[in-house]
Every structure is written in structure tokens, then in C-alpha cells.
């Protein structure tokens, strides 16, 4: 697709009619093209009307099932701020309610990870272990949180516990890395990046504990790297975030 083609893909995009690869390319284009963003908003609302036009009457037991089900499903944490500027990161400590929701979400993410590795016992216990460590970081009384938009449209949340000397990264809406690439996490030690493990985003949200101690790190970053990770970042970071200030 050339640029002119991209502008005309708005219709196919909102109808979910672009093949995966073209959808990803178009979503990249959307970030830079305000005209297409506006058109996508309008045409999405238009497509939704096609959906409303075929509404059905759900059986009453569906409501019972759904309400029953949600009582056991943890929610994603609420956004920390209304920040909508790409690449800008705002910082603040979360109010108590939001932190509680964040903790709840971490447990739920653990659940997702566990479920995904159902086939592999080993992987399952690793996931459970990570979920537990993750929950410990989030539950730390000194946990501080920063949320920012990632350069590819998702959002990232960093949770730091200086008492535990650990940090966790929660990615939401992150696109799959291209091909057999992975996302790699880095501690930012005053400008020098220290490898802190890799992850592959689950559909939805992914919470990952950074490998290694916080040490003197003042922030963290995320890059796309070949499978297995790199010793130093080899691509421009999709996220570069300062850790919350000590309070």
C-alpha cells in the first residue's frame, strides 16, 4: 500500500476487513494522519449503526450468566491520567482506590498467564511465581506508579517498589511485535540500558516483572528485539519512562 492507498483504507479498516498485516500498517498510518483518525471515528460510529440495526433479544439466562461471570473477573486498572499526548509521560502516585484496582488487575493478569500456559506445567508454575512476585511489588506499601502512552498507541504503567527493590511493567493495547521479535525491558541506569527480560504481549494487557534489582535505575525502557533478547537495545524504544520520584 502506498500513501494514497492508506487514506482510502478507512472503510475497510472500520469494517475489520483489512488482513492482519495491512491492519497493522494502517494503524501506524493512523498515528500520523489526523484526517484518517477523524474519518475512522465517524465511520466506526456508522458501522456500529449497522450492528444496532440487527439487534436481537437475548435469552434472559444470558444476563444471569454474564453477571455471574463478571463477579469473578478482575478489571483492568483505571487510567492514571487523561494524558493523550503520544510520547509524553505524566507522573503521579495513584489514589488508593486505583492502586487497589491495579493490584486486583495484576492478580487477574497472573490468572491469564496461568491459563495460557495450561498445557505446560513448568510454564504454569513459572507464571504463578511471577504473578506472586508481581502482586508483591504492587502490594508494597511504598509502590509508586507512572503511566504513559507508548509510541505505538498502547499504554504502559510502571510500578516501582524501592523497599522491594523491584519494578513491574504493565502494557495495555500493545501491538504484537513483528515476526519472531519480542519486546525487551530495560532498566535505565542513568543513560545506560540494563537488560531486564523479554515479554510477548498477550491480547489485552500484559504485566511483567522486570528481571533484576532496581539498583540505581532512574527509569525503564521497552524495545523490540530479536527472539531471546539483545545485550543492548538495537531499536528505538517504544517506551521510555522515568520511575516515579521518591516521596
Amino acid at each position: 500500500m502506498n500513501d494514497a492507498d492508506l487514506h482510502t483504507a478507512t472503510g475497510a479498516y472500520v469494517l475489520n476487513a483489512l488482513p492482519e498485516e495491512e491492519r497493522i500498517r494502517f494503524e501506524h498510518h493512523l498515528r500520523d494522519c489526523a484526517a484518517c483518525r477523524q474519518e475512522v471515528a465517524e465511520l466506526s460510529a456508522t458501522a456500529a449503526r449497522l450492528g444496532q440495526a440487527v439487534a436481537a433479544v437475548p435469552p434472559p439466562e444470558l444476563k444471569d450468566r454474564v453477571l455471574h461471570h463478571i463477579a469473578t473477573v478482575r478489571q483492568e486498572p483505571p487510567p492514571v491520567s487523561g494524558d493523550r499526548f503520544s510520547g509524553r509521560v505524566r507522573r503521579r502516585s495513584l489514589p488508593r482506590l486505583a492502586l487497589a484496582a491495579c493490584l486486583a488487575a495484576a492478580v487477574a493478569f497472573g490468572g491469564v498467564a496461568v491459563w495460557q500456559h495450561q498445557e505446560a506445567r513448568e510454564a504454569r508454575s513459572a507464571a504463578q511465581q511471577q504473578a506472586a512476585e508481581l502482586a508483591a511489588v504492587l502490594a508494597a506499601p511504598d509502590a509508586r506508579v507512572t503511566t504513559g502512552k507508548l509510541s505505538d498507541g498502547g499504554s504502559g504503567t510502571v510500578v516501582v517498589s524501592r523497599a522491594q527493590n523491584r519494578a513491574a511493567f504493565v502494557a495495555s493495547g500493545l501491538a504484537d511485535p513483528p515476526g519472531d521479535k519480542v519486546y525487551q525491558l530495560w532498566f535505565n541506569d542513568g543513560g545506560r540500558m540494563r537488560a531486564a527480560g523479554t515479554f510477548h504481549p498477550a491480547r489485552g494487557a500484559t504485566a511483567t516483572l522486570l528481571d533484576g534489582d532496581l539498583g540505581k535505575a532512574s527509569g525503564m525502557g521497552v524495545t523490540v528485539e530479536p527472539a531471546g533478547g539483545s545485550r543492548q537495545p538495537t531499536t528505538r524504544p517504544v517506551a521510555l519512562m522515568d520511575f516515579p520520584a521518591r516521596t
Binding site: 475497510a12 465511520l43 433479544v57
Partner: protein, 196 residues
Amino acid sequence: MEAPGVGRAPGPRPAGPDAEALLTAVALGDQEAFGQLYDLVSGPVLGLVTRVLRDPGQSEEVAQEVLVEVWRSAARFRPDKGSAMTWVLTMAHRRAVDRVRASQARTERESKAALLERTPAYDEVSEQVEARLEGQRVRRCLGALTERQRESVTLAYYRGLTYREVAQLLALPLGTVKTRLRDGLIRLRDCLGVTA
């Protein structure tokens, strides 16, 4: 100009907070608000998913997944980017399309003749009063599209075909189909007075 959504349509629904306010409350864990939101969106969700999947059992299962996903990811809803109904139905459509594409190769699933025969699929009548009114409006506006635009839009939206599949089915160049989908939706937008 007509407001998007069924919110203004006359119907049996009691007055209450709008879907956007409910979804915002849901994002904070309000289960009662979720129950009210469910009443607003479950009909369209189930209807749309059923239209795409055409298998009642599977459709209910997917509709349930979508509604639970609404609960789980409500915090991602941005009122400034569109209505709650659009947000929910976008999610429902994506799920239904993912499911239909994953189930098996489309060529195996349905013959070309069967696909064309079942199109346009928009003129079936819903039992719900609001949906029926909305259905009439949408049907009238679909009537304002060229036949080719209507065909392409309904094959993509209600049948979950990619634009490449639509092009293959109708023996048209890819670019032509892409343009038709866009032009068709733009005409529909203008006819329905959608402002996003």
C-alpha cells in the same frame, strides 16, 4: 441531524443514565451500572455476533465473551473518541470476525453461491421495537447506496469477509473494493447523520 445510537429512539426503555456514564461507572467496578449497561448493549451485541457467525450456540458464547470483556476493559473506553455503543459494537464485531476466520477456511465453509445468495442480509426483521426502528432507518440509508457499494459493505460487515475476499468473490480489483467500502460508509454516514 439525527443523533447516532438508539438513545433517542422512542421505545420501551426506561429513562436512565446514558451508556457513556454507565461505562465510566463500570470502569470503577460498579456491577449495578454494568447490569444497566448490559440491558442497553446486549441486544445489539448478540444480534451482530449472530449475524456474522450464524450459529446460535456459538454466537451466544461469543456474545458472552464480548460482554465480559466490556466489564474487564471498561477503563479503556474514551468518551472523547466515540460513543459507548460504538466502542462495544466495535469489540463485538472484531471478536465475531476473528472467530469466523479462525473456524475454518472460508472456501471450505461456504461456496461463493451461498455467500452471494445470502446477501444482502440486512432486511431481516428484529423483534425489538428500537432495533426495528433503527433497522428501518439503516435499511432506508442502505437503499441510498449503489448496489455495488451495498453489496461490498454488507459482505464485509455482516459476513466478516476481508476486502480481498470481497474482491475475489465479486471479481473486482482490490482498489475498487477498498474505495467502495469507504464511499459506501461515507454515504451511509451522511444519510444517517452520524457525527462520531
